[in-house]
């Protein structure tokens, strides 16, 4: 890392996140002045143009890649058109201990005087909550599910290679061509399409204006700069910003900058989940890098410097502030840009190149919170690449995560995508599978499986609130067999998925009609050709995911019920349900029996793993294939982010011996402490899940650092990964840190400010995490070698 990068990195690391009301003010003023003048898409595009014309610019000392969403690094705008924060929300952000954002009374005043009076009742969130049925609201409050789109726009959006071959002027020409071909005689949607296309064209102008303003600023700064080297750099920045994004990039520098402008454009237009993502960055940059090397206009060192500048830019952009349940399901500054390295080309060849290794070096050296990086390992990926990744994993940053490229491709082909599009796809956010640059794959929220079992064991009632949330499916003591119990669970599951989907459909329609994203639509393939928005079936593929949480915990609970109540009769149902409702008070022997004498998921025991499969099949049958609002389908996803901690707080004691309020299992990992036979057994249990039928699974493994000492252990770790992938595993990630270190970090957070640990599909600073989440990470079984 050279001095420039070290300074930029330090600034990014040290700067504390703060809120800016600038965007809120700009959009409010524009909407107030222009209310009713334009169609919804054109209004959105013009508002975006207004922001790009007037927002404060930032070009920092040392920077080579330029542009910030806020007025300065780590300053985050708000999106009142989606979620209009209350004065209390703004104060809470400043007061809360973890995931803190600086706000002040001046901002509260701006909100109370300008923003709230206009957006209260008009924001998507207000309109959604005014509509949702009371039963949905009760189930939401009880923690049966969460709703992703109540504070942030649907997103999980990743770009493909097209943006490096076209400038926005090329896109504008394409839009104009489609506009001219609209057939008002034969196509009843022609007028609607015209509005969409006009909005897309305007949004291109907005992004070009934004870049031109940076060029102007850089020129002005160059004139005033006394240091000749910096003056030359500023002049170069100006040249780059004059060329991209209006035109296609000509070299590595411009390729990086065009991505960054597109990134900023989409995350300024809306606050879609998981920010934006360049996807297969190594594949996209490789031709530019090779040409620059060949023409001697760039060397490896200079390329690395530019890439490092980009890396730090991601870290300058914390997630927009979340509140309430959304803050709990995703309690982190991380905004989940997750860069894919390796994988396969569109033609199916190994895509690892020199720049893949260069990017791994950047990942290792910069190791900030953001961006996340992962390696996509196919059967064709060389071991050298996998081992290089393992050597970084050993350092304990929690990344790169490792994905099975072959599985990720199979999942997409199963869901109906072409093999080429599937290869250009990959994983984003945490572990979500999608066809990059061609798909809207929208997460809709988490589903709490242990909670649904709890409601089943209470005849459809929520024991915490006493409210009826599900249909009466019978008292558990009346079930004559395990199958009767299971049938009741299936009934409750169907009921809650129905309820969730009903509201999802409504929200997705709201976004399509009232909050289109014209700039994003330009960049995602087929939106222009179809004349439809990203949120309205514009993309080539349209997937809706429901993320199922706690399969480990619910499997273990069913296993305990099956064994102790229905097979050995060692415990009666009456005895068990009483113990559960008393949180095992005076029943420690019973609890330990459930903990220790139950076949549990993650041990390669068929009794437990067969139950897991049965539950997984139920989830698949209940969710997969339901039509969404965009001509696409619902699919199953198995990630949890930090929601397993929140969900745990909403579930009483469970039949696996878990105390009330404790976290449920994360992703598709075994429940805490349930796996006792080491990682090969865990991976084999996971291998019995037909992961190809999902849109992603997540397996966390914690290793003690001594297990990974030496080169031989790297080879063995790589073998473990390869074998898991032979079993069809989608993803595996490692925390390499021992418990004493984590305990020390809890006691002396100031000394461990840079300790990154793996949480779900992302890493976070351990000392920034809530106490409950810290405990959860510590509770995860640490794999030792024997």
């Amino acid at each position: 890392m050279n001095e420039r990068i070290a300074r930029l990195r330090q600034l990014s690391f040290d700067t504390k996140p703060a809120v800016s009301t600038e965007r809120a003010q700009l959009i409010t003023e524009f909407y107030k002045q222009n209310d009713g003048k334009y169609s919804v898409p054109v209004m959105r595009a013009r508002a975006f143009l207004h922001i790009c014309q007037h927002k404060t610019l930032y070009i920092g000392a040392d920077e080579l890649i330029v542009g910030e969403r806020g007025p300065a690094p780590k300053v985050v705008p708000t999106f009142p058109e989606l979620n209009c924060h209350t004065a209390d929300d703004l104060r809470t952000l400043n007061q809360r201990d973890k995931v803190h954002y600086a706000t002040d009374e001046k901002m509260v005043e701006v909100y109370e005087k300008e923003v709230i009076p206009y957006w209260r009742g008009r924001s998507v969130r207000d309109r959604v909550f005014a509509h949702v049925p009371e039963l949905w609201q009760s189930a939401y409050e009880a923690g049966v599910f969460t709703e992703f789109m109540e504070q942030r726009a649907p997103g999980h959006t990743t770009l493909d290679g097209e943006i490096y071959r076209k400038g926005l002027l090329d896109y504008k020409a394409e839009i104009a061509a489609h506009m001219s071909r609209l057939d008002y005689h034969a196509d009843p949607d022609a007028a609607r399409k015209a509005e969409q296309l006009e909005a897309m064209s305007l949004s291109c102008d907005a992004a070009i204006v934004f870049a031109e303003r940076h060029a102007d600023l850089a020129e002005k700064m160059a004139e005033q700069e006394s240091d000749p080297q910096r003056r030359a750099e500023l002049q170069r920045i100006a040249d780059v910003c004059r060329h991209v994004p209006a035109h296609a990039p000509r070299n590595t520098w411009e390729a990086i900058q065009i991505y960054w402008f597109h990134h900023l454009g989409t995350i300024t237009e809306l606050n879609g989940w998981d920010a934006m993502n360049p996807g297969h960055l190594d594949q996209h940059l490789q031709p530019f890098f090779a040409a620059d090397l060949a023409s001697n206009t760039l060397d490896r060192v200079a390329a690395k410097e530019l890439l490092s500048c980009l890396w730090i830019k991601f870290n300058n952009h914390p997630a927009p502030p979340k509140v309430g349940v959304t803050a709990k399901e995703s309690g982190t500054y991380n905004d989940f840009t997750n860069i894919n390295l390796g994988g396969l080309t569109r033609e199916g060849a190994d895509a690892v190149s020199e720049i893949s290794y260069l990017l791994l070096e950047v990942v290792d050296e910069i190791h900030l919170l953001q961006p996340q990086a992962n390696v996509q390992i196919s059967s064709r990926t060389p071991d050298r690449f996998l081992k290089s990744a393992c050597r970084i994993i050993r350092k304990g940053y929690g990344y790169p995560a490792i994905f099975n490229a072959d599985a990720v491709i199979s999942e997409q082909v199963r869901a109906g995508k072409s093999i080429e599009d599937a290869r250009e796809g990959g994983t984003s956010g945490c572990i979500e599978t999608g066809a990059f640059g061609k798909e809207a794959y929208v997460l809709t929220g988490y589903l709490n499986l242990p909670k649904i079992l709890e409601i089943t064991l209470n005849d459809g009632l929520d024991p915490a609130s006493g409210k009826r949330l599900g249909p009466p499916t019978g008292l558990p003591t009346e079930f004559q067999s395990f199958d009767e119990l299971y049938a009741a669970f299936q009934t409750q599951l169907t009921h809650f998925v129905d309820l969730k989907v009903e509201v999802n459909q409504y929200i997705e329609s709201m976004f399509a009609r009232y909050v289109p994203a014209p700039f994003l639509s330009v960049l995602i393939q087929d939106c222009i050709a179809k004349g439809r928005d990203y949120y309205d079936a514009g993309p080539r593929y349209n997937t809706t995911y429901i993320q199922c949480c706690g399969i480990g915990s619910v499997t273990d609970s069913f296993s305990a019920l099956q064994k102790h109540v229905y097979q050995t009769n060692r415990i009666s149902m009456q005895q068990l349900t009483e113990a559960l409702s008393n949180d095992f008070a005076d029943a420690e022997a019973l609890r330990l029996l459930l903990v220790n004498k139950t076949p549990k998921f993650g041990n390669d025991l068929d009794e437990a793993d067969d139950l897991m499969r049965r539950i997984y099949d139920s989830l698949f049958d209940t969710i997969d294939g339901r039509p969404n609002t965009k001509g696409g389908r619902y699919h199953l996803n198995m990630l949890s982010t930090t929601c397993h901690v929140y969900f745990g707080t909403r579930v009483g004691a469970s039949a696996d011996g878990r105390h009330a309020g404790m976290p449920i299992s994360d992703g598709t990992s075994p429940a805490h402490g349930a796996d006792r036979n080491g990682p090969t057994a865990v991976c084999r249990s996971l291998g019995k899940m037909d992961q190809i039928r999902s849109g992603g699974t997540l397996l966390n493994q914690r290793f003690l650092p001594q297990v990974l000492e030496g080169e031989e252990s790297i080879a063995k770790l790589a073998s473990l990964v390869r074998t898991y992938f032979r079993y069809g595993g989608h993803h595996i990630q490692f925390n390499v840190v021992d418990t004493p270190t984590l305990r020390q970090a809890q006691a002396h957070p100031e000394e461990f400010r840079d300790l990154l640990v793996r949480v779900a599909g992302y890493s976070d600073y351990f000392v920034d995490m809530g106490a409950d989440l810290q405990e959860e990470v510590i509770l995860r079984t640490a794999q030792e070698s024997f």
Binding site: L592, N596, G678, A681, R684, G710, K716, S719, F786
Partner: protein, 309 residues
């Protein structure tokens, strides 16, 4: 075929099967621990494996006093007292029912009778990991050579299934037995502790003469052998031991690698639990420079010496 059948049905006593073992041979392995050992080393890491007969281990700190074990015991061998559960060794048949009943995992049955097929079923589970990593199966103990028929049956069965086989041994067995085992072994991990026989007898309970002879015999048979030396403070951590070892190993041309294993005091707790005397009082971990000196004393151009492993 009949021989294969009888081998597959042969039984033996093991005390554990550990999957994902990384330090008992090449690649990812499953280690099968056979019960019973003719040595009684002061520093033994698996003291529970020394006895040939099964035993019941009791962890008083985990015991809830719920008496589930007392109820489960058909021999009436258990009673709850102020000092936890007491077991009448005369009455106890070590059937293990109490360990099944105990919810708190306060009771373990150490040592169980299993068939070759039982073991193979466990071992086969991680086959893909072996394929991918160049791993396989390690037979350790206890002393695997203490159950020679069972061991040979296991080794043959693994050989038929194309599994790589390591035998991790103290080297104490009839030479003929060892050579029979060697026919079905791909790699030996062979413990060498002390060159001074008097001290060897004192701290392990047996002479080292047969062990040294056996090592020569394996060498003569051109077996692949990796030497493992646990370096125990106050027992064998003096330079003479290693220079003697170097002299002994010099003519043994088949031996290409020696691992020096730094002592780890974790075995102490186990000895306490089993009511066994712990004679290494005050022993602490050895300095890395000391280990390096010992390694240098043995190292030759054609003999690799590593610390750890």
């Amino acid at each position: 075929m009949e021989i294969a059948m009888s081998k597959a049905m042969s039984n033996g006593r093991i005390f554990d099967v550990k999957r994902y073992s990384l330090h008992d041979g090449p690649g990812i392995r499953t280690t099968v621990f056979l019960q019973g050992c003719p040595l009684s080393c002061w520093w033994c890491h698996n003291p529970e494996s020394q006895s040939v007969a099964p035993t019941i281990q009791y962890h008083r700190e985990s015991c809830l006093g719920c008496e589930a074990c007392v109820e489960a015991c058909e021999s009436n061998a258990l009673t709850l007292t102020e000092r936890g559960i007491q077991r009448d060794e005369q009455l106890c048949r070590t059937c293990g029912e109490c360990t099944v009943a105990c919810p708190a995992e306060a009771r373990d049955l150490i040592g169980r009778q299993v068939s070759v097929n039982d073991v193979l079923q466990q071992v086969e589970k991680d086959r893909l990991y072996y394929d991918e990593s160049g791993g396989g199966v390690t037979f350790s103990g206890g002393e695997p050579l203490a159950q020679p028929e069972f061991l040979i049956a296991l080794l043959c069965a693994c050989g038929e299934r194309d599994l790589h086989r390591v035998v991790d041994t103290s080297g104490l067995a009839a030479t003929q037995t060892l050579l029979k085992v060697a026919k079905h072994t791909d790699l030996f991990y062979f413990d060498l502790k002390l060159m001074d026989d008097h001290r060897h007898r004192q701290t392990t309970g047996v002479s080292n003469q047969r062990i040294l002879e056996n090592l020569r015999a394996l060498n003569a048979e051109k077996q692949t052998v990796r030497i493992r030396v646990p370096v125990i403070p106050g027992i064998n951590d003096h330079i003479e031991n290693f220079s003697d070892m170097a002299e002994f190993l010099a003519p043994l041309k088949q031996i290409r690698q020696v691992d020096l294993l730094p002592y780890h005091p974790s075995a102490r707790e186990k000895h306490r639990k089993f009511g066994m005397a712990w004679k290494l009082n005050g022993a602490s971990e050895l300095a890395a420079e000391r280990m390096e000196e010992f390694a240098a004393a043995i190292r030759r151009p054609e003999l690799r010496v590593e610390i750890g492993g």
